[in-house]
Amino acid sequence: MNVDTPMVRIAAVGDVHMADDLRGRYSSALAALPDQADVLLVAGDLTQHGLLEEAAAFVAEFAPCGVPVVTVLGNHDYHSGRESMIRELLERGGITVLEGENTVVNTPNGRIGVAGAKGFCLGFTGRCAANFGEVQMKAFTQHGIDSAATLRQAFDDLDADVRVALTHFAPITETLHGEPAEIWPFLGNHLLGEAIDAAEADLAIHGHAHSGTERGTTPGGVPVRNVAQPVIQSAYAVYELPIGARV
């Protein structure tokens, strides 16, 4: 790669699980963000219990950070059944929420496209739910299948210089190492990885696996980063991607 290749800079974190006790913990660390990145991606579990007051605390902490904030929701954000209201509250605060949708952030060096979906459980090769048996099992499995279709849909019309997948659930097992293998089917979904490979994304960002590993790669070679805050152990991680390298 030429040293003069223009780069875009993507900051990312997941699983901040905001509530009153964490007010003020991120805001000072985020002050450095505009010098380090062009956008902040947040990979779900913005709140601890999916409460509106927790979402308001998230907005107060993250919205003033000085760069566009793009999010997907996580399973914690659904816990109280108020995910639609949480989304509205975030959007009123200037934060973008993606679920089967995409957005493009213009930067001086190029356009960052983000395709987002929460994703869901399902599992991976050798440890995967099947669409078989009881109606409850079929519903669980089908929701996992549908969640990957939602991510595929998010990429459909995404035109940008760099294309990033943003999910809460993991698309591969490599970034789950550190978590007990018995719970991997509840942490991610191999069909999300297939969707990311089909889209030929430049980078995939996820969270959810607090005891996992930061770095991995899809079977198709797309870099995957687990940015769950306990994994990266900082307010955010920064990834720089070259522009004009798509072939």
């Binding site: 380090q36 601890q48 805050q229 152990q233 955010y236 990834y239 991607l241």
Partner: protein, 92 residues
């Protein structure tokens, strides 16, 4: 109660109680005490976990080995350069 069942009930209490909803906490029962392992975001959340466990099993001593992840959140020291697509090495 069987040790395995008791352990499961305590882990589920920490996962399901609205004061905690911590899904990654494991409870190991060693003799007459509990060893708590996992991660929570703050000291307040660790205290809430200890409160819930004490209510469920007041007679058992707890050894707290929980890690607090967001006590002192700082910006990262640097960045990572992601290689361009044509330098990828897909599995075959």
């Amino acid at each position: 109660m069987n040790t395995q069942h008791a352990r499961h009930k305590l882990e589920q209490a920490v996962a399901n109680d609205l004061r905690t909803n911590e899904l990654g906490i494991t409870v190991e029962m060693i003799g007459d005490r509990i060893v708590l392992r996992g991660e929570v975001a703050s000291r307040e959340r660790r205290d809430a976990v200890l409160t819930v466990l004490h209510e469920k099993a007041p007679e058992i001593d707890v050894t707290d080995e929980l890690v607090i992840s967001a006590d002192d959140v700082r910006p990262p020291h640097g960045s990572e350069v992601i290689p361009p697509a044509h330098e990828r090495t897909p599995d075959v």
